[in-house]
Symmetry: C2
Subunit: 366 residues, 2 copies
Amino acid sequence: MSAPTVYDVAGQAGVSIATVSRVYRAPDSVRAGTRERVLEAARELGYVPSGNARGLASRNTRVLGLCFPDYADPDAEDPDGDYGDAELMLYSDEIIRGMERAARRHGYALLIAASLSEGPKSLVADVAGRVDGFAVLARTVPTEELEVISRRLPVVMLAGPREDAPLDHLDHVEVANFDGELALTRHLIADHGITRLAFVGSAEDSPDGEARFRGFQAAHLEAGLPVPERPDVRTRLTQAEGRQAVAELLDGGAELPGGVVFANDQMAVGALSELNRRGVRVPEDLAVAGFDGIPLGRLVTPALTTVRQPMRRLGEEAVDLLVSRLEDRDREPESRVLPVSVIRRSSCGCANGHDAVPDAASVTQS
Amino acid sequence: MSAPTVYDVAGQAGVSIATVSRVYRAPDSVRAGTRERVLEAARELGYVPSGNARGLASRNTRVLGLCFPDYADPDAEDPDGDYGDAELMLYSDEIIRGMERAARRHGYALLIAASLSEGPKSLVADVAGRVDGFAVLARTVPTEELEVISRRLPVVMLAGPREDAPLDHLDHVEVANFDGELALTRHLIADHGITRLAFVGSAEDSPDGEARFRGFQAAHLEAGLPVPERPDVRTRLTQAEGRQAVAELLDGGAELPGGVVFANDQMAVGALSELNRRGVRVPEDLAVAGFDGIPLGRLVTPALTTVRQPMRRLGEEAVDLLVSRLEDRDREPESRVLPVSVIRRSSCGCANGHDAVPDAASVTQS
DNA sequence: CGATGGATTGAAAGCGCATTCATCGTACGC
DNA sequence: GCGTACGATGAATGCGCTTTCAATCCATCG
């Protein structure tokens, strides 16, 4: 009745369970004839090795995990509404994809779990118990929990600043937010001669957003321009908010800047549509730039100048780090910063899309 | 050295391992004082229950799986290229998201595995051994393998026609491709008075594409128009191919149709850009419609009329089916067809976006 | 005051497979 | 021909946890 086990197969094939196991784990160590008999029996019985038993016996699961924050939207098939959290979703989707692929290459499967902030609890512990190692999107899991778990299991932190104090032994991957925004802003200032730029940022607790803003500041510093102390607007990273942010800027009465740099593409896209509605010409009246490099940015009019971050690679690097730590538990914690590239399209005043200027910013520090 | 186990915790807390286990499985059956002691010990030791051991002992993993085809693109961060397989990726992403959420609601984690067609082999067996049940995107896994595995484990087939013969005991979820395309085409014919329509379809072995084409045919039949025998063009479901498909249609010399129905949105979007380039006005000179309801469709100009299919719900339904079968292994196999809705936007000639006409097509047949 | 029964806790038996060690052949070498 | 060595296979043990089943404990009841 229940699923067939090694014992059943062994019986049917007239061998011991050790041999059955060997047929799957080390086929070459079993004589061809015997092997065939076992495989045939397995086929006949519909035998599928139990991952649990195997994992228990060999004390490793061959599964890697990923914990990411749940996207807000509770259920709603979202009729035709504003894809509010599309950005976030897209982001984790890409990481999932990157991890899945890299994991498979290394012979691992991928277990994913979105942790809803208010969740029952210890969802991490749940995945932690089932995998050989896992990645966590920054700010998804409470520090204390991670602290405990990471003592027993490789964990890599994704996107977000490198952790300090209790978690500084974790491997870590992020993209060059600072360098990217610096390069982008430098381009706007140096190549387009825009000296008054506004910055629309995210909440202060978004490490990515803050790093980007610092890059924005640095470009001003470098150019000898007055350094803005804080983003002109802080808001959520959605299209709707981007739309509203420009509205605020324009209605604010203050002098119109020469360009607006948004902390991400979603906002920038929203802003473009609002600007279009108001008859503000981009880039003539106002240059616009985003950050992320989402596909949509190429399709809007004018095409969006932005900084592309390799989200999928983020996932791949995470897997690399996990695998390498699985091989050597004691190596020094490593922090990787992935390079980003400025994509010059029309929204900043560049002719017509399509010249990506790779901006070397790959750093490996220990 | 190695990770702490129940024994360690039990020792530290001065209780038996049975009690430790109970603290996690049935907290109420342990006196509060004892429970605290155990929890404290666990915390101190950094104890995380082994999913494998637990699964083995309780013979269930509390994990659900999903097998989907790998998206072509091997590595390439795809500089700024044509997101060729974006459609497919988007598709599986949505399903993953839907399943993840539903699974979590039911207390399951989700294991995902993209099977590369040429892969080493039996990737399914691999996931099958680790989960309590799983979903398979149509045409991802060889029939024989599924046949064997599905004898031992709940499997639901996603998107694609219902399987026959050896696999007809599987649960199955798909969307109303036929009904959706029928409704859409009916709209073009009846409401916009377009009598000559072209259809750009996919390869013949795409069950979805074929079903859509049959819906397209049915609308002609219903309207008393000549029924096209085959799609005017068959090609891959990408933007680039869509672009080329219209080019073919226009350059073909034949009389220009009043409208073109594409088997999916990606192609339609590509076509729109090509038409725009050629100065063909949409919808005045040529109406255009897609299928899928991808977000991008709302953003192109003119906004794309299409049929929205609830991809995320596909994943949710799959989980429902799996869970319910886990509860009752013997219930009749069920086939669910999810309703789709025609989204009328500008590309077909409808005023301006935003009226979704839900098209009842939900059917549950056994 | 002893009996009775529910609440707790412990002892022990697996769950299905990997793996070490011992055993059994058999091809070779002398 | 017989000892030797290596390849193939079997027996047995344990991975870490769940789950009866039985043993205790203690409060309540007669």
